[in-house]
């Protein structure tokens, strides 16, 4: 991306943003209920979806059993909350949303199987679901074959752009480039140690990170991968100590995360001293619950949403979420992205005046959502979201404190030229 280009994009962004804000007053989003009688079922549903005069059925497809249940619980809660809120505010085209929830069981063929059931048997109008890339890759041919619409919440490696998926999380470049720019500008970081769990997302992300670091003229002093579920990180911590990087760039996931941060702290690396500084893109507030706030105090995370964001939308969202699911709960990046799914779908349907997937797809690019807890977002032609990237500092209470956010929305670029 050249400077000229990005300047151009920013202008467009700002203009669109202002226009968006002016045209849709925030309250109208919640309050302006449409009447079902104005939209006869035969007209809004020409493709045989599960739509009646008063209801429309959607699917929720996540793992609630198996190893991924830990991560996907929050997404299910967010999606249900969004659906309930939409129903309370009058539904979609005057119809109440009903959902059918299916369990992917942390097993990819099960995801494909259940996706097919939702689309073929239940004729759902859209599906909110999937978490891991592997599950998305497994259901993708099903959605393309039966022409369904999937709202996928997780930040992921990119390299994909399906007409049947709206990606409500960030793709890798959105998350990575802004963070590395920030750390090299404000923290004067020159050398990086890249670390990740051994699978596609960390590897692709680190590849983008490495390219960008080298572009900035900085150095990568190490790049390491450990199998998923690995619990012993002493050796790599020693290597980090030896190579003395300015930044540890960590993309460790799952149970390994807990082990990594506990052992890092025990080995005498105090992240609050920022030498080395730790920057991660894989630890949300959800993960901190398991890691323990005191073990990750002082680390920086780069993503698009933190629970602590100080804006009216987010305050309202956090309050509603806690009322619905309990005070103890924390909300991470993916949970927020999952919350966007039902809203973006509702808006696309109402803009199209139809539940038909083809029309919803057509209506989606350019859709703007002001009430998003993360702030204003817009759907790009490539089905990803324009969104801001933020850096947060982990606090001992398990929350992030916002230290930086990009001035403008970052353009999603799932097939980044020069980063592959």
């Amino acid at each position: 991306m050249t400077d000229e280009n990005s300047e151009n994009k920013m202008n467009i962004t700002r203009r669109h943003m202002l226009a968006g804000m002016a045209s849709i007053p925030a309250l109208a989003m919640m309050g302006g209920a449409l009447k079902a009688s104005d939209y006869p079922t035969a007209a809004v549903n020409t493709s045989g979806l599960a739509v009646t005069d008063d209801t429309v059925t959607v699917g929720i497809l996540h793992s609630i059993t198996g190893t991924m249940a830990i991560s996907e619980t929050g997404s299910v809660q967010a999606e249900k909350l969004a659906i309930e809120q939409i129903n309370a505010s009058g539904g979609v085209l005057g119809r109440q949303i009903e959902y059918i929830q299916e369990d992917g069981g942390s097993d990819w063929p099960t995801f494909a199987e259940k996706a097919k059931k939702l689309l073929v048997q239940d004729k759902v109008a859209s599906v909110m679901g999937c978490w891991t890339s592997a599950s998305r890759k497994a259901v993708l041919p099903v959605f393309e074959q039966y022409n369904g619409m999937l709202y996928y919440p997780t930040f992921y490696e990119g390299l994909e752009q399906s007409p049947n998926v709206i990606y409500t999380g960030q793709e890798a470049t959105q998350q990575i480039i802004a963070g590395i720019d920030w750390v090299s500008e404000t923290k004067d970081a020159k050398s990086f140690f890249l670390l990740g769990s051994d699978y596609i997302w960390p590897r692709t992300s680190n590849k983008i990170a490495r390219k960008h670091i080298e572009k900035l003229g900085h150095k990568v002093v190490g790049e390491e991968y450990y199998p998923l579920g690995h619990t012993q990180f002493n050796s790599v911590i020693n290597k980090i100590k030896l190579r003395k990087p300015d930044v540890i760039y960590a993309i460790v996931v799952g149970g390994s995360n807990v082990a990594f941060y506990k052992q890092l702290k025990a080995a005498g690396i105090d992240m609050t001293k920022e030498s080395p500084l730790l920057l991660t893109i894989s630890v949300t507030e959800d993960e901190i619950l398991g890691i323990g706030g005191e073990n990750i105090d002082g680390a920086y995370a780069c993503m698009k949403y933190f629970q602590s964001l100080d804006n009216p939308n987010n305050m309202e969202f956090v309050k509603a979420f806690k009322e619905r699911w309990g005070d103890e709960i924390v909300i991470g990046d993916v949970t927020q992205a999952a919350y966007l799914g039902p809203w973006l779908w509702k808006m696309a349907v109402e803009k199209a005046g139809s539940f038909d997937v083809d029309k919803v797809r057509e209506a989606s690019p350019g859709l703007e959502f002001n009430k998003a807890p993360e702030g204003y977002v817009r759907i790009h032609e490539n089905h990803h979201l324009w969104s801001k990237t933020r850096v947060g500092l982990a606090k001992p209470d398990g929350q992030y404190e916002l230290v930086y956010e990009t001035a403008d929305l970052v353009e999603p670029d799932p097939f980044p030229e020069g980063y592959q």
Partner: protein, 380 residues
């Protein structure tokens, strides 16, 4: 051996019943969506049939059948992926003509060991041969040194773990944790359409029936009797002048080949292959299918694979949060109360009943009773 002597009369009935259910009943009453699921379950039955031979009859418990299932599936997936990755389909890639995941991992040409998978003939041979060779190496090394029982189980388990880590780690060559996805056509024939799924289902069932016949042939041959003898008193067989380890290697390879066929059919029917079918968990689940059906019964294996998977799907649809309880309970119940599985229940309770109703079945039932292995013999 004369084919009619392959099964005794009641076994012929059983075989015919299973064939009728799978080939006539299911396709006529179940819609294509569920039928495709049944087809998927039946691919596990290939593994279970192999396990009946090598575990039930041979006493060799492998916790690594997922390795062979996966290898077979990956061979098939490689062929299909290459076919899907024509230069036209992949023109947006920086190197058109190679699978998409290779392009993402900066591979600029097809690795040499992928090349042969452009040929369907080679692929079909590889599906059987590659897993068999691996099984041969593992078996040769372990059975020559008389490793058996629990040790063998744990080592095969470790190999499954190693293979999973390797596949996930070498994502440029294997597709990593996402596996090889988005498979479309077989020699230009779209495998995703409903009609293709019907055809694949029938191919699958016929292959499975074929595998059951082969297994039955092995079971009733002299070799099959030696196998049981080895399981119960290995030393005596050895002292009688037989080379025990060769027999074990053979039966292990045969089971591996069966699993691999299942894996290949799985890829064809499900449309992708991923490392999650190679690891420890699927491998153990496959043992459970055989255990539930009855570790000594080939038909039981087929029924076990169907029933357990059907239960899994149903439970996880109806009580998603409870299905692990049900599955765990099923494992324990089968092992503790019905070590011969459903087939054991059948031959203990149902068969005598049939025999009473149909007197000329009496002889067959008696014969079956006589050859039935007593529970005690299951002990090592």
């Amino acid at each position: 051996m004369n084919i009619t002597r392959l099964f005794d009369r009641s076994e012929w009935l059983g075989f015919a019943a299973i064939a009728a259910i799978l080939l006539i009943l299911f396709p006529s009453v179940i819609d294509i969506f569920r039928l495709n699921l049944v087809g998927k379950y039946l691919t596990y039955a290939f593994v279970a049939v192999g396990l009946v031979l090598c575990w039930g009859h041979g006493g060799i418990l492998s916790l690594g059948q997922g390795i062979f299932f996966g290898l077979g599936g990956y061979c098939m997936a490689m062929f299909l992926k290459l076919e899907a990755s024509t230069p036209e389909n992949t023109s947006i890639q920086s190197t058109p003509g190679i699978p998409d995941f290779m392009d993402w991992n900066q591979l600029t040409e097809l690795p040499w060991w992928w090349e042969p998978f452009n040929s369907l003939a080679f692929t079909i041979v590889a599906i059987i041969v590659v897993p068999s060779i691996l099984a041969f190496i593992i078996g040769q090394a372990m059975f020559q040194r008389r490793v058996g029982g629990v040790y063998f189980a744990i080592i095969t388990q470790a190999i499954a773990a190693i293979l999973t880590i390797l596949i996930v780690g070498q994502q440029g060559y294997t597709g990593g944790i996402n596996g090889i996805t988005d498979l479309r056509t077989l020699l230009g024939w779209d495998i995703r359409t409903d009609s293709a799924k019907y055809i694949l289902y029938f191919v699958n069932v016929i292959l499975l029936l074929g595998v059951v016949m082969i297994a039955q042939f092995v079971k009733v041959s002299k070799f099959g009797r030696l196998l049981v003898a080895m399981r119960d008193k290995e030393d005596r067989v050895r002292f009688s002048g037989y080379n025990v380890s060769d027999f074990k290697v053979f039966i292990f390879c045969l089971a591996a080949a069966f699993s691999a066929i299942g894996g290949a059919m799985f890829t064809l029917q499900v449309g992708f292959m991923s490392p999650s079918f190679v690891g420890i968990v699927p491998s153990i689940e496959m043992v459970i299918f055989a255990a539930v059906g009855g570790r000594l019964s080939l038909f039981g294996a087929v029924i076990g694979a169907l029933l357990v998977n059907f239960a899994k799907t149903t439970f996880s649809e109806t009580f998603p949060e409870l299905w692990l309880f049900a599955m765990g309970g099923l494992f324990i119940a089968v092992v503790m109360a019905f070590p011969n599985g459903l087939a054991g229940i059948y031959s203990t309770y149902v068969k005598p009943l049939i025999a009473r109703i149909l007197p000329n079945e009496q002889k067959a039932a008696n014969a079956a009773q006589a050859t039935k292995v007593p529970t005690k013999a299951l002990a090592e």
